[in-house]
């Protein structure tokens, strides 16, 4: 690969990497939100029952 | 409109009188700017150009302004007077204009010492540089006053004010240094005028949103 091609590839990989990192962060966030929702549902049920 | 102008004049006069009596901010600004110029002398290796020295003058002005702006609303904050001002039956932009005039006055007073000191330490000044300083003072005071009011709501106000201020002041530095060193200072001075006009209008219009609860 010529030097030119390496740099072009690097630039496109940066973009791809950024999007993938973003997806990862959102996935982690969704996990946290699900966890919190489960906690709140449990609290609500306890309040209802107790 | 005489009511508006009278309100603005009253506020500006109050700030200047306060400073005259307490002498908190202005002496510190004066001392700071002369100290900064001294540091700059040692920061410039031998053989540095006159243009580099002029550039550093602008840095001194920007940071002295920051010093003064940090205290722009401190009196009101300590005495809880800002709420009183905001509740007063006047257009909130009056507060901004009054403060801006006060800050401009402080800057000009500091420069009355700084510019001769610079001419003494480094090299003589040109008329273009003085014109640029005058125009820059207006722009710096205008945005600085608004940003100081914004920073007042923050928990880290001494840190956040310089952070917000510096990117906004870059065009002023470009205009100022350009006017000081360029062959045709006209376009740079024109640019400074444009900056002042645009941001003064923006600050004047948006101040009320920044200061109401």
């Amino acid at each position: 690969m010529t030097a030119s091609e390496k740099y072009v590839t690097a630039a496109y990989l940066v973009l791809l990497g950024a999007v993938l990192v973003y997806v990862l962060i959102i996935a982690l966030k969704v996990g946290r939100l699900e966890q919190e929702l489960a906690d709140l549902t449990r609290t609500a049920k306890e309040k209802r029952g107790g | 409109m005489s009511g508006y102008a009278a309100d603005v004049a009253a506020l500006a006069r109050k700030d200047l009188l306060l400073e005259l009596r307490s002498r908190d901010t202005l002496p510190a600004m004066l001392l700071f700017v002369v100290s900064a110029l001294t540091v700059f002398h040692f920061a410039l290796p031998a053989g540095s150009s006159a243009r580099a020295e002029t550039g550093l003058l602008w840095i001194a002005i920007v940071f002295t302004a920051l010093l003064g702006l940090g205290r722009a609303f401190s009196a009101e904050r300590e005495q809880g007077a800002l709420d009183g001002l905001v509740l007063a039956p006047c257009d909130r932009s009056v507060i901004w204009l009054g403060k801006t005039i006060g800050v401009t006055a402080f800057l000009v007073l500091a420069e009355l010492v700084a510019l001769p000191a610079f001419a003494l330490f480094f090299h003589p000044l040109s008329w273009e540089l003085l014109a640029a300083v005058a125009l820059a003072d207006v722009g710096i005071a205008a945005i600085g006053t608004l940003l100081a009011a914004m920073a007042a709501a923050s928990r880290a106000r001494e840190l956040i004010l310089p952070l917000m201020f510096l990117p906004l002041v870059i065009p002023v530095v470009i205009g100022g240094v350009g006017a000081s060193v360029a062959a045709n200072a006209g376009s740079f001075l024109g640019f400074l005028g444009l900056y002042d006009a645009v941001f003064a209008i923006l600050c004047w219009a948006s101040f009320e949103y920044v200061v109401t609860e």
Partner: protein, 248 residues
């Protein structure tokens, strides 16, 4: 830069007008994601297989097909954020704060990508990772610093109407700063830092222009998709916090 059109896929008036994130919002997210995928893949395919190689710059010119769309998308995000900020100040509706914040967050991410891809392009073109002569990069540096301070302002201010209004006014300042800085960097070039480097030639051949436009549309759609997703996440976060307070 003048090829930037305002035909953004569904960007105006999206992202849910009520607090219940419903079916319409889901479908919009799917449409945006599909559009982004199609346009971006298609655009890049055109750029690599159809558009010719640049006579002067050679293969390295291909970076242009993502660097400039990313830059224009960042501008679009900042403008969109400022628009939402105006709506907040105008109407006082609190949802505009989250929308403005998310848009500016997108803008900063794309701005950072602009700086990185621009730096790589500078390295391959002129051998330096950074040059003050490339006006676009310098402008983005100023804007990146400005909008990073936006986040500092938000994090250091307690949540409430005060923070919302301050953020909105600051976002407005940003969008005014864009043309002012552009002008400033331009006149600075005449005296302070000579602009000896330029990337974009005066005329783009038709094939390059079309490929570029498709890439641009794709990048805008990508930003819209990510914006939508992030906004939904933030809204759910806020609703859950509200729910927690109600249950406590």
């Amino acid at each position: 830069m003048s090829t930037w059109s305002r035909n953004r896929n569904g960007r105006a008036g999206k992202a849910g007008t009520t607090s219940d994130v419903g079916v319409a919002s889901e479908r919009l997210a799917a449409v945006l994601a599909a559009a982004a995928t199609g346009l971006l893949i298609g655009g890049l395919a055109l750029a690599f297989f159809w558009a010719p190689e640049d006579a002067d710059q050679g293969f390295s010119q291909k970076i242009f097909y993502i660097h400039v769309p990313i830059a224009l998308t960042a501008y679009a995000c900042f403008a969109f954020g400022a628009w939402k900020a105006v709506r907040l100040l105008w109407t006082g509706e609190r949802r505009y704060d989250l929308e403005s914040y998310t848009a500016i967050h997108m803008g900063v991410i794309f701005g950072l990508l602009t700086l990185v891809t621009g730096s790589i392009w500078a390295k391959v073109s002129w051998g330096q990772w950074w040059t003050w002569g490339e006006r676009q990069l310098v402008l983005f540096l100023i804007l990146f610093l400005f909008y990073s301070s936006y986040f500092m302002l938000r994090y250091s201010t307690d949540p409430g109407p005060r923070r919302e209004r301050n953020s909105a006014v600051y976002a407005l300042f940003g969008v005014v700063l864009i043309p002012v800085s552009f002008l400033a960097v331009r006149i600075a070039g005449t005296i302070l830092h000579p602009t000896i480097f330029t990337h974009t030639g005066a005329n783009l051949p038709g094939t390059m222009l079309v490929s570029f436009c498709v890439c641009l549309a794709g990048m805008l759609a990508l930003a819209a998709t990510l914006y939508h997703v992030e906004l939904a996440g933030k809204r759910i976060d806020a609703s859950l916090r509200e729910l927690r307070e109600l249950l406590a």
